[in-house]
Symmetry: C2
Subunit: 395 residues, 2 copies
């Protein structure tokens, strides 16, 4: 398949070690000695382990206990073997629940069933193994009192924001994975526009996008390809609706690559745009371009929001009502900081964002450009490479 970007040359094992190193360095400066991570993203960050079941079942729970020089993964018994295969030592994986592995040689993996009844009991074992007298930060503590009870007296602080801040400043390898995931999504939209013609269905456009993501090793996770009035619906599944001459199509698509997300947006028109389409597109693109132009270290995130809304309105889409004009991205598709009013967080090199200025007009249509980038020492490094003008599909 043409158009697939070259795969990133990132050593995932090395990246896991680098992330763990960054976590330990942050821990050395934190008001606690150890941290209990409870989101799949933070656990992947710390351990390199990404659970297949974890993405399928809402009730799936894991935890990681990270100290200055050690790490335990608390996981369902079924997750133990793949976690060990991924590089975790057998004696650092603490299982709960029932699952059976047999073995052709001696391994503790044959005894993972029924070691603990639930995640909390297994977490208590991991906490004890980590050592007495430690002060623990706990991700998600405020939302789950049972976590605090499991950690015990050492549960000193909710580490949710702390974990997000550590994960927020991306390592070079993470930047390359996010760049690749974004380019794969972009290649998907390009493939959709290549097969587009009058009467093409939303589903056919979506299929072209997903096929491209898969061909590049990505896992498609959302493929919004909506045409005509449906382009105004914000997130909606593609249907058998046919794209007609003069109509907008809006694409908002993302995939996973090695655990890292993409989320990009593009708009196109079938045939030449009318004045309103061209004018509104110019306005939202100007808003996005101004966001990119003001982005550099030290600028408040709220300013990136404000400049987007001001610019889009000044260029003629008024009122332009938005609750956010972008978000962080990484191991989660939305990561704080959200590009929203009043967010005083200052931009730092290594932060990765999606910036976007979508416009949804029921009955008329919707349009957006959404780009992904990393903040650099003096501005931005843009991941996406598509032409900026409104793509016109010739008919």
């Amino acid at each position: 398949m043409t158009g697939i970007p070259p795969a990133p040359a990132v050593d995932l094992t090395g990246l896991t070690a680098e992330r763990a190193g960054r976590l330990r360095k942050a821990l050395s400066e934190a008001p606690f000695d150890a941290v209990v991570l409870t989101t799949p993203e933070s656990i992947l960050y710390a351990t390199g382990y990404r659970s297949v079941a974890g993405a399928l079942f809402r009730a799936h729970r894991m935890a990681a206990v990270v100290t200055a020089d050690d790490c335990w993964l608390v996981c369902p018994a079924a997750d133990t073997a793949p976690a060990v295969d991924g590089g975790l030592p057998e004696d650092r994986v603490v299982p709960f629940g029932r699952f059976y592995f047999e073995s052709s040689g001696p391994t503790p993996l044959t005894g993972v069933a029924d070691r603990h009844p639930d995640v909390y009991a297994a977490l208590r074992t991991a906490i004890e193994a980590a050592g007495a007298g430690l002060r623990h930060g706990v991700e998600g503590l405020a939302g789950d009192p049972a976590l605090g009870a499991a950690v015990g007296d050492g549960a000193e602080a909710d580490a949710t924001g702390w974990a997000i801040r550590v994960r927020g400043l991306k390592l070079p390898g993470e930047v390359e994975l996010l760049r690749y995931a974004a380019r794969l999504a972009e290649a998907g939209v390009r493939a959709a526009l290549e097969i587009a013609e009058e009467g093409v269905t939303e589903q056919a456009l979506a299929e072209a996008i997903a096929t491209t993501m898969v061909a590049g090793g990505g896992e498609p996770r959302f493929v919004v390809a909506t045409t005509g009035p449906r382009s105004a619906l914000s997130d909606a599944h593609p249907t058998d609706r046919r794209w007609r001459r003069g109509e907008l199509a809006r694409f908002d698509v993302g995939c996973l690559y090695a655990g890292y997300w993409s989320d990009i947006g593009r708009t196109a028109v079938l045939g030449e745009p009318d004045t309103r389409q061209a004018g509104h597109y110019a306005a939202i693109l100007a808003g996005l371009d101004e966001q990119i132009a003001v982005t550099r270290p030290g600028v408040a995130v709220s300013e990136v929001f404000d400049v987007a809304v001001r610019t889009v309105e000044r260029k003629g889409v008024s009122p332009y009502r938005r609750h956010h004009c972008g978000h962080g991205i990484g191991l989660a598709v939305y990561e704080p900081p959200i590009v929203s009013p009043g967010v005083a967080v200052e931009l730092e090199p290594g932060m990765t964002f999606c910036f976007e200025t979508p416009y949804y007009n029921i009955g008329w249509g919707g349009m957006m450009v959404e780009d992904t980038l990393v903040v650099t020492g003096d501005g931005v490094d843009l991941f996406t490479r598509s032409p900026r003008e409104l793509p016109v599909v010739a008919i």
Copy 2:
């Protein structure tokens, strides 16, 4: 692409109405007058609405309030326009949170922002609209006390099991969608075996599977394609490991089609199997075949488990330790009843199951056959059609 099964001729709008009818009929026989549904699956069942964001964000919440003759969807403001596009009346969609739609004509969708601060406040509004004095069953009540507070005095019962039982007996249209999703997964595995040769990577096998699912309109959701010793890992992501002569490959794959899941398993060997591979495969296949053979209305689910374990052991894989040998499937990939010891639920026509007899031996490999079927009046209707013998990839 060859091998894609013909798409099912199911009218999704009609199916939504049929599901709602079944829900209402069950409600007329329930110990409550109305039901508050809170899982994405039950909400899709009742309303036909499947949220894109709902599959991406753990914090995404919705609810549906269903009475004898009406229905309200409680959802984030961003979900209102796609829900209305899907057929829900504007005045039956109760939004919370902040999101802005503009419009080229009069519609309440321009005013969905900030109507309610959260799902609970919006749910209170929907409950009031449904009428005073109703007794409510509430799905997920036990796990979320705030739900009970939002519903108020009428929150009489936890309706989690009730909703599962209603969804558990599939309508003919649901059976056809599940059959198609299963055949799409099966076609994926077939495509993987067609490209297989010595040295093919797990990732290339997974790509063939996902591409096939996408080509048939499916959304790939898990693609376990593991080779050699990695086939023993239960669920694990594919890697760049190469499949070698004499090794097993294990496939456990599923996709979504119109909200319905598939989950099938297959095993293959590259070149001729050795005695142990052939013998173990014969044993696990015999276990699965016996499950299918005993399945008919009135049989206890636990018996389907017991016969699987007894048969696999008798055929020479001993001990054969399993916590389950299958599960219901539908709008969720795992639905009760789980095919486990002690589950006294009796099989009924219309129940859909995945039956499976996986075997995971660390260091040696893993194997499974997992089939999907619907219980009929006198036995089963098997969805999967692959040959039953161990597929041998010629080299």
